[in-house]
């Protein structure tokens, strides 16, 4: 049995802070119920592939520092890239601060295939082709270097640029050039100091050399910076202009702006990490940060922040998670759930037999949200038993063998790791139950009578009623009574420096361990800034003769994943005469005789969908946007998610749902 978990499990292993016992609407942890169940049974956890390129790199590999949203007004230039804070659900808290920045005179540039409300309010919009962002980043870096616009201090002193790489990919460290230090943790990297013409500990160099090779123990070693420049050499300004569908002028303008009109915040969100090679932007953006000083300073950052610097309510001081311990716990595997497509086909995973007989889906909706539902559905049809715990008749629920109705947050008490209790207002309707109750009841039915000796409330008490929490007046009883405990409002416009062991901005990794590890490793070129075309959505793909348009979607204003489907109020705003619609450029529409309001069929090798068309100038001219978040039954034919392919990348196992090409035609003569 496998448990397909949602945004609930963002790492490749069991989450270490599963607090919630009722895991409605997938909240960043698996909860007491699932955690104990998995430990008892050894069930495999199928983690989500959603946003994995970004999460794996930002949160795990690079620990990319975030500034407070309140810091945005301190920036002189804000590059909004793969982000749409004026519109995208879950990210709108940044918009007000970007407005403040603009009002203080900041430059706002939006890089996006779609002319979003964010783009409309910007000084410049770059209509980039989806999936080509790393090319633009590398070209900007090249321009900055060639035109001597580098922030030398950041590059030399606060980035990995001067560190030296050995043949095995590791840094030259103290032990390589002399005596090994007593403690392994003191075996830190060295650099060549121009001032002393010797190797010194990287923190001690007064003028670390950016260039230069040296012989160390018979090996030729060279700086990360030199290796980087060589790696990104092909991605000139002219290359990027052609590849990205931009002009040389646009590339130069943004490169100049972010390096000379500083401090710069690269407001980079998940929008650019949905294509096969998009994980490379994390190396490239870190390099841009090092070149422009966009890290750890007021107004300088190279990612968006999710955390406002303000505090409004009081979260518990300390949790006691000992209730998650299970005697004789079994070891479970964790695999990205997208790979079910391969596993079911081959019967194997990572060289071992791996028969999947049953899948329990909780806190997610794979068929509406994963990339390649056409292939996933084929795989699900070969699995004996699919059970889904759900609130709504999602496409996944629709195709399941059994649905266990879940309770709404107000029908069951639970504690969120954000620091508040969702309070029970009414009894669940019909047969609906909280997730914890469902898992407990399944466990009992499976013969595990003693797996949950405590009630839900008792588990919550055991977690919350630590001496520290009780002393602070933040124990179960208080949260049960009040739900949220308000504190004094504080607001801090913090800027975070790098927090990794070296304290340096990293655009090189000594080793790149993949998220799903079946033994694959990555050569030097993949551990530095670089650009590679997408797996399907690229200009030279032969298939473009049949499917010439670059397809993509986004988090629009009226959807949040697939949570707000079938909503009459929202449909008043987000449909064309009650039907979902796509967006295409007026040139592409004219070629096909399509006008706003026509019914059109969008199709490729993966799937197809019929919806209305909206013709606009506000989209990259060879691109086609489809909405994300409608269920299968909200379309006249097909559903939009089927247009996406099955392309998890070997580094992050990302769900690459913006990596597809398509064709569009009027449907049945298609008059509105």
């Amino acid at each position: 049995m496998c448990i397909q978990n949602g945004a609930g499990n963002k790492q490749a292993h069991l989450n270490s802070h599963p607090l919630q016992i009722d895991n409605n609407n997938c909240n960043y942890n698996m909860g007491v119920g699932i955690t104990r169940f998995v430990k008892k049974t050894g069930a495999t956890v199928l983690a989500t592939g959603d946003d994995m390129a970004g999460l794996y790199f930002k949160n795990f590999l690079l620990n990319t520092p975030m500034n407070a949203l309140e810091d945005l007004p301190n920036a002189k230039t804000i590059i909004v890239w793969g982000a749409n804070p004026a519109e995208a659900s879950f990210t709108r808290s940044a918009w007000y601060y970007i407005c403040k920045a603009k009002e203080a005179g900041a430059n706002i540039v939006t890089i996006d295939p779609l002319y979003t409300p964010t783009a409309a309010h910007s000084d410049m919009w770059l209509p980039i082709k989806v999936g080509t962002d790393a090319a633009l980043m590398c070209a900007m870096a090249n321009y900055i270097i060639e035109n001597n616009l580098i922030d030398e201090d950041t590059l030399k002193k606060r980035s990995v640029a001067p560190l030296l790489i050995k043949e095995d990919g590791g840094y030259v460290r103290v032990a390589d050039i002399g005596e090994a230090p007593q403690k392994d943790e003191d075996n830190l990297p060295v650099v060549w100091d121009e001032a002393t013409q010797t190797f010194v500990l990287y923190t001690n160099a007064s003028n670390p050399a950016l260039f230069g090779s040296h012989d160390v123990n018979g090996q030729t070693v060279r700086t990360v910076y030199e290796a980087t420049i060589e790696n990104i050499k092909p991605f000139t300004v002219e290359y990027a202009a052609a590849e990205c569908g931009l002009t040389v002028g646009q590339v130069v303008a943004v490169a100049k702006m972010c390096s000379t009109e500083t401090p710069t915040t690269f407001h980079i969100d998940w929008g650019i990490e949905h294509t096969y090679n998009s994980w490379r932007i994390y190396f490239a953006s870190a390099f841009l940060a090092a070149l422009t000083g966009s890290v750890g300073v007021s107004g300088g950052a190279y990612t968006t922040s999710r955390s406002l610097g303000s505090k409004i309510f009081k979260a518990p001081v300390k949790y006691d998670l000992s209730c998650l311990n299970v005697e004789n716990a079994k070891t479970s595997k964790a695999i990205t759930g997208d790979y079910v497509c391969d596993i079911v086909e081959t019967g194997k995973w990572s060289g071992e037999d791996f028969p999947i007989r049953a899948i329990l889906v909780q806190g997610c909706d794979p068929l509406d949200n994963f990339s390649g539902p056409t292939y996933l559905l084929k795989a699900y049809e070969k699995v004996d038993f699919i059970v889904t715990i759900e609130l709504f008749m999602t496409t996944t629920a629709h195709y399941s063998d059994l649905i266990l109705p879940a309770a709404m947050p107000w029908e069951t008490e639970d504690f969120s790791t954000a620091g508040f209790m969702t309070q029970k207002a009414i009894e669940p309707i019909g047969e609906a139950r909280g997730d914890f109750t469902i898992i407990r009841d399944i466990a009992v039915a499976m013969g595990y009578d003693d797996l949950f000796p405590l009630s839900g409330e008792e588990y919550l008490r055991s977690i919350l009623d630590t001496p520290e929490n009780l002393k602070a007046g933040l124990g179960y009883d208080v949260y049960h009574e009040q739900g949220v405990i308000m504190g004094d409002y504080e607001s801090k416009a913090f800027a975070s420096p790098e927090s990794n062991k070296l304290g340096l901005t990293r655009f090189y990794l000594e080793e790149l361990i993949p998220r799903d590890d079946w033994g694959q490793r990555f050569p030097l070129k993949d551990r530095l800034p670089y650009y590679e075309k997408s797996i399907e959505s690229y200009a030279e793909n032969q298939k473009r003769e049949q499917y010439p348009l670059y397809g993509f979607s986004n988090h629009d204003n009226y959807h949040g994943q697939s949570v707000w489907a079938h909503n009459k109020w929202l449909d008043e705003f987000r449909t064309f005469e009650g039907k979902p619609y796509c967006r295409l450029h007026e040139d592409a529409a004219k070629e096909r005789g399509i006008e706003t309001g026509d019914d059109v069929r969008i199709f490729n090798d993966h799937g197809s969908c019929v919806m209305k068309a909206v013709v606009t100038r506000g989209i990259q001219s060879e691109s086609l946007w489809v909405p994300h978040g409608f269920f299968w039954d909200e379309f006249d034919e097909g559903f939009a998610q089927t247009l996406t392919g099955y392309y998890p990348d070997p580094v992050t196992s990302n769900s690459n749902f913006n990596d597809w090409i398509c064709q569009v035609e009027k449907y049945k003569g298609g008059a509105a």
Binding site: A86, R92, W95, E103, Y115, K568, R617, G618
Partner: protein, 206 residues
């Protein structure tokens, strides 16, 4: 003399319709009825820009609802006196006096701010919003009330408080200390259709 008005910052507004939705919930409006709605100006359809692709595109954002005019055309033409203007400036429709003749709809220069409620259908089978709000009545005209139920207990209209862009201002235009009066002193603004002579009290900051 109190004179309530609104200012909308078109440089911050992103036509997200959150204020429109808040209003719908607050007043338990039926299907197809909106007292406030986001508008964009540019291309033919909402969110489509005008201008030339790719670097001279333009899109303007604002919301449209009753302008609570000084010389309301609706009040002038109303045969029963159902449409009236309070001393504090709020223009209201009294559902009990309204006969649904729709003269106000014809007279008002601001298309779409008021709706004739025929046979109201609702998305939910229970009421939502403020319990003191009067239900819309079949056969009458309804429009923005400037959240009179909230204003009368010294609160701001919901659409003002909700805006995450902080793009909306409300208050007494005749009180120089009110936030709306202050922002109008600092910023340039447009009015909608000033040449129609109704003297609207909704200001669009540029």
């Amino acid at each position: 003399m109190t004179k309530y008005g609104i200012a909308i910052d078109t440089k911050r507004c992103v036509a997200c319709n959150r204020c429109a939705m808040m209003c719908k919930v607050e007043h338990n409006l039926p299907n197809g009825v909106l007292w406030n709605r986001a508008v964009t100006e540019g291309g033919d359809f909402i969110m489509t820009p005008g201008g030339t692709y790719p670097d001279k595109l333009s899109l303007k954002f604002y919301t449209l609802s009753c302008q609570h005019c000084d010389n309301p055309a609706c009040v002038e033409v109303c045969p029963t006196g159902a449409s009236s203007k309070r001393e504090d400036g709020i223009v209201l429709v009294d559902y009990e006096q309204c006969i649904g003749c729709e003269s106000c709809i014809a007279a008002c220069p601001y298309d779409g701010v008021r709706t004739f409620v025929g046979d109201p259908q609702y998305a939910l089978d229970f009421k939502v919003g403020d319990s003191t709000v009067l239900d819309v009545v079949s056969g009458t005209v309804s429009k923005c009330t400037l959240c009179v139920e909230r204003v009368d207990r010294s609160e701001r209209p919901n659409c003002i408080d909700l805006c995450f862009a902080h793009a909306r201002y409300f208050g007494d235009l005749d009180d120089s200390g009110s936030e709306v009066a202050k922002v109008l002193k600092e910023r340039d603004y447009d009015l909608l259709l000033p040449e129609q002579g109704t003297n609207p009290n909704v200001y669009f900051l540029k």
